[in-house]
Symmetry: C2
Subunit: 1017 residues, 2 copies
């Protein structure tokens, strides 16, 4: 194939979208991060007017600059932006047609629609859709806008954002953009590379922070001034300028976390005001475009109008039980939503069939990214008929003049004339569709009532289903759902077709603007050909023939097999992580493994970086051999193996570019030692009231010094812990972590090693973010970090409220208790909180410290409950009621108590102790005030119990086991005591002496557990 | 013809220029005033690399905003920018082809290339070219860039800048842009009109001046920072942002004249540094594009290579005298350059033919915008042969041993042997191509010399012309000239062909990269068809047949006739101003008058505005009836009358848009009374040291109060003068004057009348800028204004130096003396300067005042000399030597002296007086110290002279006439005195007495004239 040039791609897209009825406009005249910011999108998607537009947009993103060294990452790239408003009904097909116009044949490539929840907080906008991947490379963002500038969109707009550079690379099967033709024989590199270098340098090194801040202030002040005068476009321009300036400051590393919030709030508020004013303005203009019919992109699918279903579907009912198939055809669902829909249908269908009173055979549910399938064997053609006896008013209120106890000798005629039905009876009969004379009198619950016998004819199944299916579809819910057309229906992604067949009969219904039928669609890479299903029992064969693997487990098994085979080819083993496997399985309908390689030099990158890039970014399976990665990966393509080499090369290119990017960061980063990054933490705000991350880091160091004795660290461990604490946060300001936050700690560990730190130090840094660090050194700095966050942020008034937990303090609390439990390390949280409080720059009053401890206890409860699924909540509650400041001890107590509760003789142990506790409680006295005086014993059992206690309890028990072992020994004496002795004796002295005796036992559980919270107490 | 849409035009241009090998790029991402600022032009035109590019550019010009009310003037319009580097050789033809691609048929329209000297001082750039007019509307700027960022360009780039909106209007024959289709059925107005309103309002009313100033400072500081790091594109971006911000400030009216200079200096300096750095950068990269042959737009004309002319042109010489034709084919010359070339050729050709020794008949010269023609009748086929006698060394140095005085009887043989030629003789003979024995000995000037008789064969005319013609073309000079191709030749506009025929023979030569031939080109509107001229004598017929009127007078006469006829059609008379007629004549080769009309409502605009727009902007002839304008105009089209209706409509549209624009300004302006504008003058800086125009206006008022008695104004006049002075400058801050500065004063007059001012006041305001105001009131304020400028600016150190006169002080000085002379008003300039000095905010020392008076005297001299072409300089010099502070008096003196000098007896008058003056001067005494004492007279003639003086001179004469009438009477006595009396007598007393007597006469000319400066003194 002849190579394409950059300008050809643009000219072809212009022609294509112009031919589809789009307005072709120009890039915006001020720097924007994306075509979305151009008013041709930002403003025009608002309100009810149709709008179809396409344009190129140079998109400037300072922190994507790579000095012209990365093959496809740049501070400026060209987007091709298309807006289709309203949804033409087949935007994916239009999009794929446009790719064909560019020469991209879907049969030769792997084109995928990969979930993408688009969000742009700076302009209060969001939408759902996909990244479109071409051979692993994201070439387009495809979004159904839901909100813009804080305004809900109606109709929804479809946004297509092509990444033109990446398309050129893919079309030319190139390694990098630079040597590809821009046009007229000139390379892209000639046009842009030097500029790319200059701007990268400018944004990262030269831009003056103080001046940029001033510019930001001036721009946003000017935006305000424009808004005050109703000048929306000028205002929007200044919002864009503010935004670009913010991006410069961000690339310069000049924005702290707290500041970031403030910046975003400001920009968002301005964007919102612009959007709202625009809506108002268009309304006042009475929406001039509403009547311009010509400005519509006509989808190939006309808007459906409900065609009365073939009468035969109603009259010519199947007489035999038949197979029923419902296929809900959708645009690619997110992997999680495939599972969610599957679960819901699996649960709902049997119940639904019961509710609908339809007899049926096996029910099977299938889910792929493009279809949700319900298959029901032998579905009865009708509901069965049924007779219901409906209770009416009391007989004496219904029927008058008919003394029904006394037989009338006068014969039937006289009997008949003597009956009079009241209005109540007449009404009741009418309501139930029977004659009054058919009402029966029956006795029920001791009274007599009239009853109507209501016969209900079973309705034909098609009729029942036609009513039920829309509700069924509606009942499927997703974590995030969206609107797309004027039906206003919410779903994970747009519904585009239904197959609804009972035998060979279409069950007619409409939902979400889509009509049911018998046409399914084939695989994406085959252009989703229409597949006419003649009858439900043919469905599975036809779908299989079309190459689609409906069954998830089958797809999964196939992937595992192919991946393992491929890995074996290079003598390695694939790293198959279940989460990734599950996701990949839900991204395709026909899996074909594609193995590719990458340059060995990248193996020098940290392993976690490599794996993270392959798995998280690319959904590839890495391959290792003897614990070391091989320079290969396995991707799963949707489709067969036609054009597989192109697919492989494409994926290799993408991975190479991503590794190159990581390489860029690492190479830049290791120019400094890890320690040298630490001072830069001062520019990273932790929280305005609590200072920078450098301040936090200093506090952690101090606290670690306090924790060292508490955690009983050895000498070496203490030294390492202090060093690890010193360096723990330094990686936060490296470029690699700035780019991939999930690698925090891991990068710290790598850079620590490369900076010559001790292994133990590096390892501890690496594990600080793990919920349960493996080493005590890691544990020490992790605890210090989490304590500091909890104490500081609570003191700053940022305790989590309701669902809000922006600083992830719940996780921090879990991160305190869980490792202490797992390492079984005794630790006084109250003391630790107090020590952390002393290091904080703001006061932490006692009340706050108590709140913190309560909050941690709450998490401890969750952790303890989650640790053993068989555990009953009462055990945990009982323990935590008495001890929660030492999680390890609590955990041991729970474990022990659990064992005791499980003992066969528990039902004898607990009641005995309970008698002691209850009597004390009901007496409402403080037994501690009384002393046992053996001289005051009246009964022999008192003395015996006293002796038993004396011989058993030498010290106050400190564990559940100690305590219960004592109780077990005392049980006979306790029981004997209560059987014989009336504790609440009339004589006060006797009574107090007895209470004191029982109180000795009851008080033994103090600090161990509150047994009254146990079941059976 | 189906209507076009805006986006179709763009897509067609993209396709067209892509097909011609242009790179198609995108608009720039920051606001620019023109596509020229895009680095794809600004940077890429620098240096030697080829570069051909085309792109759309939204061009933002704040002060063009019209709130969306003007049909084709907007703060944002879309340009289509094309750069062709190097010149492909036929850029005009390529351009016209692109218009055809858009559907613009040159036969149906009037397409004109109208001189435009493009200059953009903010980026130190300039070039020469044209505005391309389509039916009177400027639709494209066509420029050969000469310099960019202060760097001379080599090669030169051709820039085409299409105005896309105007092209759409023309294509659709629309009245305004708003209802035309942008694309996809949506109007341009829908896309842009509201935004146009908002931005107009923003730029004129809302933009915050203080913030904009701060932005400007930040941007330019950032540009500096980038330049310091060699980051050119980021630097350039900030230059653009500075420039846009400057434009905002300017539209807000916040930039004073002096500030403007500083702003421009700053921007220019930055642009220069960017350009120079870029040149350096490309050099270091070794000009990567130099070898990319594919990036060239191939003109249809290949680069000429000199083909050896047909040998027949040299050998087969014409034997008969023949007609010679030289046609220099050029791209459209500016009107003035047509005349300049004509003048030069007219003067040069006869001389040249003499120098070339070519006999010839009539010589005729013709000039049109596209061709310069030399026609020579009966040009001799050869130079005549000639014999020259060349003088050599003295005979005795040349020839030895030959006693040429003495005949030798020994016969010829001995004679021959006795002659020896020296080396001097041999060398001389060789040098002159003769044999030594052919040297002749001749006597000359008393000595004998050898002579060579050199016979020169007349060379064939073709050979002579082939050498001479390149030099002839080179000799044509223009006020502004340009380079265009690698010949490096300068000319007014590119030379594209030569016809050079002697009879039927082509005279072969090459100049400016163009070869001579026998192909001419026809009319532009006919696509400049090639016209093969078989022989010179057919030239005129063929050119006439092709529709071209070569003769300027013929074209002019035709225009006058057509214009008068057209005006008569509407019952009016055309206003035919000679300058305009001359210009129009030079803009076309075939004149056809087109009469159009405009809306009567515009007649309410000031007449001067209407006329100014029609004449100056559009080159139309206005029509009036009984002194009132009619709503019609006459345009002159280049070509015949095909499609004349379209041409008329186009021109009507343009004029309507221009009037609409003027209407906009006037309507806005008259919302305030003229008086209310006066305070706004405070925002208009006159000069930083001298304050604002409000300050100047205050000074003028003060000075007018002083001038009123000096100029002897009547009571009413004084009142009016004070009021006129108060209001004189107020119109400078109206929008109309801001837009059309040439209407200053005129607008003031109009607005004064509309504000209810007295007619006399309004009239004076109107004539204040005329060199010679008609009324004394106008004169008063004009003098005050000019005096104030001269005195203030001289004091501020801004006296003109050399050719520099940025404040037009020479004109101001002429404006002082000329009206005083023409009104013959006596006026003491020295006193006036002193009075003005007192009003200045800075000190004006005596020395400066003297400089000012000297400067004025210098201008006075020029004026006096220019007043009468017959006048000799000595008369003016004589008068000005004694009186220059009262111009009217000086003028009268000059006139009188002129008369005296012309008298027949002048040669008797002057010497007599001269004797008196000379004797006093040679005595070097101050005669004023001596008194005449009649008692000391020795000779009778002394006494007689003394008596004559006593009886003639009663008072010191004050005019030339008075003085000379005295002298005439004294002449006999003077002559008698000098004839008889020895003034310089030995006895001191006698001598002093005589000198005192003569001194009385000599001193009579004091304050009148210095007669010693006269010829004949």
């Amino acid at each position: 194939m002849p190579k394409s040039s950059f300008q050809e791609i643009i000219l072809k897209l212009q022609d294509f979208w112009a031919s589809k009825g789009c307005l072709i406009t120009q890039p915006y005249y001020t720097q924007v991060g994306a075509g979305t910011m151009n008013p041709a999108t930002f403003l025009r998607v608002l309100g009810p007017e149709p709008w179809n537009v396409a344009y190129v947009e140079p998109s400037v993103r300072p922190d994507d600059g790579r000095y012209g060294e990365n093959p496809n990452r740049f501070q400026l790239h060209y987007q091709y932006q298309v807006i289709l408003k309203p949804d033409p009904g087949d935007p994916q097909e239009l999009y794929l047609e446009s790719l064909k116009a560019l020469g991209i044949d879907p049969r030769q490539h792997d084109i995928r629609f990969v979930e993408d929840n688009w969000e742009q907080p700076a302009i209060a906008a969001w939408g759902l859709g996909w990244e479109v991947w071409l051979d692993g490379q994201e070439i387009t963002q495809f979004t159904y806008f839901q909100q813009m500038g804080g305004v809900s969109l109606d109709p929804v707009s479809v946004e297509l954002t092509y990444g033109l550079e990446r398309i050129l690379i893919a079309l030319n099967n190139a390694k990098a953009i630079w040597d590809e033709e821009y046009g007229a024989g000139t390379t892209y590199g000639e046009i842009r590379r030097r500029e790319e270098f200059e701007h990268s340098k400018y944004y990262y090194e030269v831009a003056d922070v103080e001046r940029a801040r001033q510019m930001y202030d001036l721009f946003s002040a000017e935006a305000d001034a424009c808004l005050a005068q109703g000048l929306l476009v000028p205002a929007h321009d200044y919002v864009l300028k503010s935004s670009h300036t913010f991006n410069i400051l961000d690339a310069r590393g000049a924005i702290s976390v707290a500041e970031r919030q403030a910046f975003f709030r400001r920009m968002r508020e301005l964007a919102r005001r612009v959007a709202e004013s625009y809506e108002q303005q268009r309304k006042e203009l009475e929406y001039p475009l509403l009547n311009e019919t010509s400005s519509k992109v006509a989808g190939s699918q006309a808007k459906p109008t409900f065609q009365p279903s073939n009468p035969s579907t109603r009259s010519g009912q199947a007489l035999q039980p038949s197979t029923f198939i419902l296929e809900i055809g959708v645009e690619e669902l997110p992997a999680d939503d495939v599972d969610a829909a599957y679960e819901q249908l699996n649960e709902r269908i049997p119940t639904l069939l019961d509710e609908l009173r339809l007899e049926h055979g096996d029910v099977r549910i299938f889910a792929t990214p493009r279809r949700l399938v319900v298959s029901i064997d032998s579905l009865s053609p009708n509901q069965p008929d049924r007779e219901d006896r409906v209770k009416g008013p009391p007989a004496d209120k219904a029927i008058v003049g008919h003394v029904f106890d006394v037989p009338d000798s006068a014969g039937e005629a006289s009997h008949a004339t003597s009956v009079t039905y009241t209005q109540a009876a007449i009404g009741f009969a009418k309501k139930n569709g029977v004659n009054t004379w058919d009402l029966e009198v029956r006795e029920e619950g001791g009274g007599k009532y009239v009853f109507a016998v209501v016969k209900q004819k079973g309705r034909p199944t098609p009729e029942v289903l036609a009513e039920a299916l829309p509700e069924l579809v509606e009942s499927i819910k997703f974590e995030k759902s969206m609107r797309w057309n004027d039906s206003g229906v919410f779903f994970s992604r747009p519904i585009r077709w239904y197959v609804a067949l009972l035998g060979d009969m279409v069950i007619p219904f409409e939902y979400a603007g889509v009509l049911s039928g018998n046409i399914s669609r084939g695989l994406r890479p085959y252009d989703s050909p229409q597949i006419k299903i003649p009858s439900a029992d043919k469905y599975f064969d036809m779908i299989r023939e079309s190459g689609i693997v409906l069954d998830k487990e089958e797809r999964k098994a196939s992937i595992v097999e192919q991946v393992q085979q491929a890995a074996a080819l290079v003598g390695g083993e694939a790293i198959i992580e279940e989460g990734l496997l599950n996701e990949v399985t839900n991204l395709i309908e026909m899996p074909t493994a594609v193995m590719g390689g990458f340059d060995k030099e990248y193996l020098s990158l940290p392993r976690d970086v490599l794996i993270s890039v392959m798995k998280k970014h690319q959904r590839y399976f890495p391959i290792e051999k003897n614990g070391k990665l091989l320079p290969h990966f396995i991707a799963i393509r949707n489709g067969d193996d036609i054009g597989i080499d192109i697919v492989r090369q494409g994926n290799e290119h993408v991975l190479s570019a991503r590794f190159s990017d990581a390489n860029f960061f690492v190479r830049e980063d290791v120019k400094l030692k890890l320690e040298e990054y630490r001072p830069k933490l001062s520019s990273l705000t932790f929280h305005t009231k609590l200072g920078s991350y450098l301040d936090k880091s200093d506090r952690i160091e101090k606290l670690v010094n306090e924790l060292i004795p508490m955690l009983k660290l050895e000498n070496d461990e203490a030294i390492f812990a202090r060093r690890a604490a010193h360096l723990a946060k330094a990686d936060l300001v490296t470029q690699m972590v700035t780019e991939m936050t999930s690698l925090q700690g891991i990068i710290g560990r790598e850079y620590a090693l490369r900076s010559g730190e001790q292994n133990d130090v590096a390892f501890a840094i690496g594990e600080q973010y793990q919920t349960v660090p493996q080493t005590v050194i890691g544990l020490t700095i992790a605890l210090a970090d989490r304590l500091d966050s909890l104490v500081g942020l609570f003191a700053a008034g940022l305790a989590p409220t309701g669902a809000k937990d922006p600083f992830a303090l719940r996780r921090a609390a879990i991160g305190l208790v869980q490792p202490l439990i797992e390492h079984n390390v005794d630790f006084d949280l109250a003391d630790a909180v107090k020590k952390s409080a002393k290091t904080q720059p703001i006061e932490v009053i006692d009340e706050t410290q108590k709140q913190i401890l309560d909050f941690i206890a709450g998490r401890l409860k969750v952790v303890l409950n989650d640790m053993d699924a068989t555990r009953k909540y009462d055990v945990v509650d009982a323990v935590l009621a008495e001890q929660s400041a030492n999680p390890a001890a609590s955990a041991r107590a729970v474990k022990q108590l659990q064992w005791w509760v499980g003992r066969d003789d528990w039902s004898t142990i607990l009641p005995g102790f309970a008698r002691c506790v209850r009597i004390i409680r009901s007496a409402q006295v403080d037994t501690a005030k009384f002393k046992v005086d053996p001289k005051k014993f009246v009964e022999d059992e008192e003395k015996k119990l006293y002796d038993a206690i004396q011989s058993t309890v030498h010290i106050q028990p400190s564990t559940v086991d100690d305590f219960l072992n004592i109780i077990v020994k005392l049980i006979p004496s306790i029981n004997a005591f209560f059987d014989k002795v009336l504790v609440m004796a009339e004589e006060e002295k006797v009574r107090q002496n007895r209470l004191a005796l029982v109180g000795q036992i009851a008080n033994l559980s103090r600090g161990i557990a509150d047994f009254s919270k146990l079941e059976g107490f």
